[in-house]
Amino acid sequence: MLANYGYKDGSGEYFIAIDTDKCNGCGACVKACPADVFEITADPFDPLAEKQVAVIKEDHRKKIKYSCALCKPTGERPPLPCTAACEPQAIAHSW
């Protein structure tokens, strides 16, 4: 399943998509993220699956553009800590 967290506003689309078919719940993203936006829980969108996956914390969903600002300087952008840490490549950013 593709879980899109974030929003669209006048300035653009700010979504982090987590592919729960790829995510193995390893928690590497939780450790890597300086803004503490991830957490590992039972998949909230597939309640019968009993699988642990990464989700974006509720309080970051409405301000994800700002939560991630540190990792996304204008100009040359280094690899994002979260996507770099995620071995199965389950994380994608829309901006």
Binding site: M1, Y7, K8, P47, L48
Partner: protein
Amino acid sequence: MTEAVATAQKREYWRWREYDWRDESLDWKRAGGISVGIDVGSVSSQAVVMCDGKLFAYSSLRTGSNSKTSAQRALEVALQETGMPREKVNYLVATGYGRVNIPFAQKAITEIACHARGANFIYGPTVKTVLDMGGQDCKAIRCDGRGKVTNFLMNDKCAAGTGRGMEVMAELLQIPIEDVGPASLSLPEEPPPVSSTCVVFAKSEALGLLRQNWSKEKVLGSFCLAMAHRTVELLSRVGVEKDFAITGGISKNIGIVKRIETKLGVEALKPSIDPQIAGALGAALFAKALYEKELSGNAKTGS
């Protein structure tokens, strides 16, 4: 005297009708498992009672200031006249905005999962795209033939033009909420959309337009068009695969539904069951599955 009373009971245009339903032909006493789903939304609350996976009773009421009492009331109203005591319920799942504050629920499940599951029950396995238009937000959901979510998106940012927004408009323009959709369609041609669907801004924008001598219908049309526009934008990110269905309170507003259909070039399925109960219905279906799981788990461990 009567006149004084009439003014005191000023008409509330936003106020929609609460309702309930039950299948009198179904004998709950013969059911093996009774599952309940309660959806406590920001504007309305629904309770759905199922017997062995068959729809037995439901209610749809306004949400009060407290999630727990709103949930309790919804269940009481659904069960009234059925003779079923609450203790007969085997498993209860809560969903919606207030789901975490319902202590008598065995489990809380997100609306997204519940709406997909509920839409699958209402519209059948051909439904692949569900748009849930609720009281305070809007969700675009893709699902498979079993009602399992495959992709979703929520407008998390603001409570833009949704059920609450409609209530504000109905009150502002003094048009009963049930008439908003038809009134917005009674125009010779489409007006330009209002620029904002944010409840606060749209209100002041609407007042401005009225001052420029726009008719109430034109203002409504313009507001509905803007809402449809935003919703279609949201849908475009997950993609629309047929069949397409709309759930939630706004699915009954023909002024919005028609405009979304026109923009998408796709018709929404016509519901056989009230689409406003989709969330609670999905929750009741999960309750059934979880109850069965619990039973088979107990059987295995021998307890």
